[in-house]
């Protein structure tokens, strides 16, 4: 049983990290809330499904187009919705959450519900690790998830745009005075984040069906990981993913799957009470000390 817990805990943690990367890039690192994140994830899934099944494009072409469409949708949301309320945090949250609700509920209204909405796996079969079978799709998730997490770290620490992402979150006015176009960077951040949500969807959704309700769960999980890890910290995101990932698997094994989702919410509550800046968060650390 412990072998299962270790292997599946690791996989679950990488899935969580992968799910949260885009949200972390936009909200955690750039300070721009995108509470339509879960909707972007589902949007990518349905677009890919439509291209694959209605236009009969090859899966990888449909996946790439879906990722591009989702990034464009994110940029459009920034340009036409977020830009108008920029700087008003509560309004930003409400506006993006509203956009997310519209997207998700529109899919529901249009009848996108049923077992036929499923994406194919990248490769079929499974691998025996010790005494535990792991399907190849999970191995893909782990591989791409680790690569993306490392890539995101280097992107935000060693590239001009990545540094600009962090810059506008640290102090937008100073960033402006240094020649960073904060509106453009924030827009890019939302587009990148949405694109990452789409990548996560293309990798993770073949394990299940594309369901509107998953959009809400993805948002809760991504929020939990970012809040617990600490806003602005890529390493924190990974650390939090592993804490929640293993906690969820242990809960599943010891208590039953119906308690899994509660773990994320309890973790958010505990961290907000004990250390509001998160495990490795820097953005509010000073306020916390005062």
């Amino acid at each position: 049983m412990w072998e299962v817990a270790i292997i599946y805990g690791f996989i679950n943690s990488v899935i969580l990290a992968l799910t949260a990367l885009g949200f972390s890039l936009t909200f955690g690192i750039s300070g721009v809330p995108n509470f339509a994140y879960g909707a972007m994830y589902i949007f990518a899934g349905f677009v890919s499904w439509l291209l694959l099944n209605k236009l009969e494009l090859p899966f990888f072409a449909s996946a790439l187009i879906a990722i591009a469409f989702t990034a464009i949708l994110g940029a459009a949301m920034y340009r036409f919705v977020l830009l108008r309320v920029r700087g008003l945090v509560i309004s930003e949250v409400i506006a993006t959450f509203g956009v997310g609700l519209i997207i998700l509920e529109l899919f529901r209204y249009l009848g996108f519900s049923g077992f036929e909405y499923t994406l194919p796996v990248f490769s079929d079969g499974s691998l025996l690790i010790g005494h535990t079978y792991v399907d190849y799709q999970r191995l893909w998730i782990v591989g791409v998830g680790i690569l993306l997490a490392i890539g995101l770290y280097f992107f935000t620490h060693h590239t001009k745009i990545g540094l600009a992402f962090r810059g506008i979150a640290q102090d937008e006015h100073t960033a402006l005075s240094l020649g960073i176009n904060s509106d453009r960077i924030a827009g890019l951040s939302v587009a990148f984040g949405s694109g990452l949500a789409a990548v996560a969807a293309i990798l993770i959704l073949p394990r299940g069906t594309i369901s509107v309700n998953d959009g809400y769960d993805v948002l809760i999980n991504a929020m939990a990981v970012c809040i617990i890890g600490g806003l602005g910290s890529s390493v924190g995101v990974v650390l939090a993913s592993f804490i929640i990932g293993y906690a969820q698997i242990m809960t599943d094994i010891l208590s039953g799957p119906q308690w899994k989702m509660i773990i994320s919410l309890i973790a958010i509550l505990v961290i907000l009470v004990v250390k509001p800046s998160g495990l490795l968060g820097k953005q509010k650390e000073l306020e916390e000390r005062i």
């Binding site: 299962v4 049923g114 499923t118 299940g208 509107v212 698997i249 799957p257």
Partner: protein
């Protein structure tokens, strides 16, 4: 003069025809179909109702006393199959279609038993005959039996969880007899009927058949990762896993079962696996699964019972797609005929008279011989010539569905997948 006379006659004739048409259009019998429109079972049940209504209307409609009246279907979405939709919302929808649309009867009805049980009081309040065809909790009959006068308008045509327990328990008995299996693991969705079914089957199997329950799991609606549960079943050496799910995501359980090569036979109900499309959607990873179709005709042709096969084929001809829901469409189709015949026997649209006549139903339907018990539930059994019936079938490795239970309509025997070994040789 002759021309004027002819023209006047023509105009009068046209007016008479128009008037007759209008009188038909103004007075159809309104059939309310409030259900979860986004669910597969709901969608296909609505289509089955429409199919029966079209057939009846094509023959001129229903005799109400001396009048012939057409049927008209009014659909409303209760959304109660979706996670997080409160029962109160479904009840509002149910009450709305009764009070605003003034329907004469309700068919199909709520998707969730939780909504049905609460909705029965609304039905009792407005006295509108209900023929439920999806929600399955046995508590429905308990409620009717507790107060048969109050709930005299509530009927259920689909299988109830109790009968499903019977089918599955007998299948488990057969597995024990044939292969020597005696350890079971239960995986159910966290909804009333599924938990009742899972609990009921394990109770019968452990107390009467010598099975050992080695574990059980309950999954929230919408869950799509079953790997930890499957691993637990493997570690505890379960030989049979009993899944009971009606959510679209549950199809993934099969993929995970097959890719992890879990050495336990799946025998239960996984709703997305009911219809023929499952084979393509789930990439052919279904071979070996024992699944139930709750009513004959619902997404499965039955070679030994022609009315079910005819319904299955007619549906495909009419809608140009095969039926996929293993629960709902067939009893929904039959429900229209039950209602139409009850109205004709009652000779009026008086709900009390209709309810009394529904209770007396004795007809050969798509689901088998239809009669109601004292809990206003259609009686299900093992032979469609005697009672209504469901069936258990097995997906073969080459994508066919072979009925294995009940014996009266069985088309083949259970075959174990190559990675599962029998306990007795």
């Amino acid at each position: 003069m002759k021309k004027i006379f002819l023209t006047a006659n023509l105009i009068i004739g046209l007016l008479v025809v128009l008037f007759m048409g209008l009188s038909y259009a103004e007075d159809p019998i309104l059939i309310g179909v409030p259900t979860a429109e986004t669910s597969l079972e709901g969608r296909e049940s609505i289509k089955a109702v429409q199919m029966a209504v079209d057939e009846i209307n094509a023959k001129g409609g229903v005799n109400v006393g001396k009048e012939k009246r057409l049927l008209k279907v009014l659909v409303s979405d209760l959304r109660d199959s979706s996670a997080g939709v409160p029962v109160s919302e479904a009840l509002l929808g149910l009450e709305k279609i009764i009070t605003e649309k003034k329907v004469n009867a309700i068919l199909v009805g709520p998707f969730r038993s939780e909504s049905l049980l609460a909705g029965m009081d609304i039905i009792a309040k407005y006295k509108v005959p209900l023929l439920e065809t999806i929600a399955m909790s046995p508590k429905f009959e308990e409620k009717v039996k507790e107060d048969p006068v109050k709930y005299r308008h509530c009927f259920r045509v689909c299988l109830n969880a109790q009968s499903l327990v019977g089918y599955l328990a007998q299948s488990l008995g057969f597995l024990k007899e044939e292969f020597g299996f005696n350890k079971m693991y239960v995986m159910t969705q966290d909804v009333l009927w599924a938990k009742a079914t899972g609990g009921g089957v394990s109770k019968v199997a452990t107390t009467k058949m010598g099975y050992e329950l080695v574990g059980s799991e309950t999954y929230p609606t919408g869950a799509s990762d079953f790997s930890a549960g499957l691993m637990k079943a493997r570690i505890k050496n379960a030989q049979v896993i009993l899944p009971v799910f009606d959510m679209p995501q549950s199809g993934i359980l099969l993929k995970q079962w097959k890719s992890q090569k879990i050495p336990s036979l799946l025998c239960g109900f996984i709703s997305p696996m009911a219809g023929p499309a499952a084979w393509k959607i789930f990439e052919g990873k279904l071979g070996g699964l024992l699944n139930s179709n709750f009513e004959l005709g619902s997404a499965i042709p039955v070679r030994k019972y022609p009315p079910a096969t005819k319904f299955y084929e007619d549906y495909q001809t009419k809608f140009r797609v095969p039926m996929e829901a293993g629960h709902g469409p067939a009893p929904s189709y039959d429900a229209v005929y039950i209602l139409a015949e009850a109205i004709e026997r009652a000779g009026s649209l008086d709900p009390d008279k209709i309810a009394d006549e529904i209770k007396k139903t004795d007809r050969v339907g798509v689901i088998g011989k239809i009669k109601f018990n004292d809990g206003n539930q259609v009686i299900y059994g093992a032979d469609p010539k005697e009672t209504a019936a469901g069936c258990v079938y097995q997906w073969t490795e080459d994508g066919k569905r072979v009925i294995v239970f009940p014996k009266s309509i069985a088309e083949g025997k259970i075959v174990l997948p190559e990675w599962i070994s029998p306990s007795k040789k």
